[in-house]
Assembly symmetry: C2
Homo-oligomer: 391 residues x 2
Amino acid sequence: VRFAAIGTGLKYDDRHDVMLAELVPGTTVAGVFTKSATRSAAVLDCQSKIAADDDGGAAILVNSGNANAFTGSYGLASVIALTDRVADTLKIAQSRVFTASTGVIGEPLAHDKIIRKLNDLNAALSAGSAQSAACAIMTTDTYAKGSTAEVSIGGHPVKIAGFAKGSGMIAPDMATMLCYVFTDAAIPRPVLQEMLVHTVNTTLNCITVDSDTSTSDTTMLAATGTSGAGQITGIDTPAGQAFYTGLHHVLLDLAHQVVRDGEGATKFVELRVSGAHSDADAHRAAMSVANSPLVKTAIAGQDPNWGRIVMAVGKSGARADRDRLSIWFGDILVAENGWVSPEYAESAGAAYMQQSDLLIRVDLGIGAHSATVWTCDLTHGYITINADYRS
Amino acid sequence: VRFAAIGTGLKYDDRHDVMLAELVPGTTVAGVFTKSATRSAAVLDCQSKIAADDDGGAAILVNSGNANAFTGSYGLASVIALTDRVADTLKIAQSRVFTASTGVIGEPLAHDKIIRKLNDLNAALSAGSAQSAACAIMTTDTYAKGSTAEVSIGGHPVKIAGFAKGSGMIAPDMATMLCYVFTDAAIPRPVLQEMLVHTVNTTLNCITVDSDTSTSDTTMLAATGTSGAGQITGIDTPAGQAFYTGLHHVLLDLAHQVVRDGEGATKFVELRVSGAHSDADAHRAAMSVANSPLVKTAIAGQDPNWGRIVMAVGKSGARADRDRLSIWFGDILVAENGWVSPEYAESAGAAYMQQSDLLIRVDLGIGAHSATVWTCDLTHGYITINADYRS
């Protein structure tokens, strides 16, 4: 996979804002996208192309600074113009050009500015430019997010590498902001898609910064087949499981990096809910706690305010019994049997909350299902970024 | 109805924190309560008593500073001790004493401090003390919330008066924080309950400050029958409709006051969604916009960022078609047919957002159903209150 990044002045004057990834012929591509009812033209275009069983050369073009979302027929025209010219430039089929745009919603995308730089982008393509590609798609992100893994498939080393952007408007539903993962494994498209969906459901779909779901969420996985390892024919084969382990590592790592870089975040919080009546109930209760402004502000204030966790479980809609609920901060048992634990000392809870990485566990005490999600705190920084920055 | 308020030092040293309301024999009482799965002992006690067809003398006792929620068997013991002693003091049945507690969750309620003051409270009861009762139940509220209406029932004037508290943890589900309404109309309990449920569904259940639902939400309506007007036998009778109009006025007024006093709020926002496929979809889309941190911070920043409204409609789960969506700020058409309106000037939107009272309208363009909800902005003030204040 070769990458290039360039500055086109779409919104920012002094940084790269467009990245191009070129995928060799034989590459299979899988993708998951936002379930938003107001998704962008680029997402709709990718969704219409992703299911095709075509493994010719392919490309991914992403810009930051403008989401090209809610831009009506003009938005679709931009996508067509861009994919048309990228196909011409790289001599591939237009149906194999995938785009994404991230930034302000509702303003027309000046796609001509990008088209003017396509020859330069093409000339700059190199295998060593993944880092600058990752930087080019950032918006309010404070750092680029990348992750790699290497797994062994029938004795052949196979690489998996990905990058992502995302900091606010993070409550992925089938995907997160923008996330691209590449591997040199050989995997037929249906198997690749199944692997991606499975992995996203326990990684990117389990994070939230602010409960707001983007109109542009896109995660794509491309397998070039150039490693020399044998084809992976199913997720349940030994090779499939080995690859899945590596893919899960990369997507979980990227998901955590997105949360750590959550707008204004000062704390990284892992929330584990166990003892639930169903998997869905466990996820619902965990997300309710993770999205509660009162829980998130208490965490920002380093206040071991477990009463707000009780509140958030109660409002979640998950089946719960107040008198069977238990709560831990790390290994500290805080509440059990419907009340504060007799061994709990507020000073221990307060000391624990000073850490930057927190583990909060809730056991509902009524079933055997569990879920883990990740979130950050809600601080003055989030307000400053979003009351002043037009994103 | 006679009221009294007193300071018991539960949490605050220099203010009243307990209120008592005495209801004459013949009073019917209706109530709606939080649907939280972790609701408090006082809520459970009220729910068990409210359906009884008893119209003897009754009382309502409310304290602030401690929610007596998630306090296990001790919490229930506090409710029993309080209702027992209030019944003794006022010489009424324990089954007619309703309590509520608001404040910090998870700490035991020092009910002895309240019991010691019951004789003083009883001696202080007076018809003119509603205002001090309303003040005694405040927590982070910055002012007491009251409202009155007078309607004519068969030529007899009938009064309706109520007060409420609430500022944070406001996303009522069947009720809001604490709200008490009194009338001298004569209304049988089943009719009174039906009136209350109907009214709450379009008033208190349509507001949100921060999407967090309290464990103690309680709204009660008491009808003393002392006005001399004839009994109201049904909601669909002329007298029932007259009363309903007055009750709706009082509850909507109180709901708006709660939003205006939302923690850290600087803006009052009315959100109207029309053109929805169903009433539930309209409410879901409106609440999604009203609860979106990115919409609320844009409003705080006086930014006419309608793209975030598109995002919040998209994630709501309500049926929507991006290209049929229209958005107005007040009377200013901002977006239509999936894009910004050709007549829209950003300067007009920016000027509109400077106002303290805002109307945002969204038409989904796919049906005939609508909903209206009210919310406030999300500011640094909210973070300051909730990262530092243990509520």
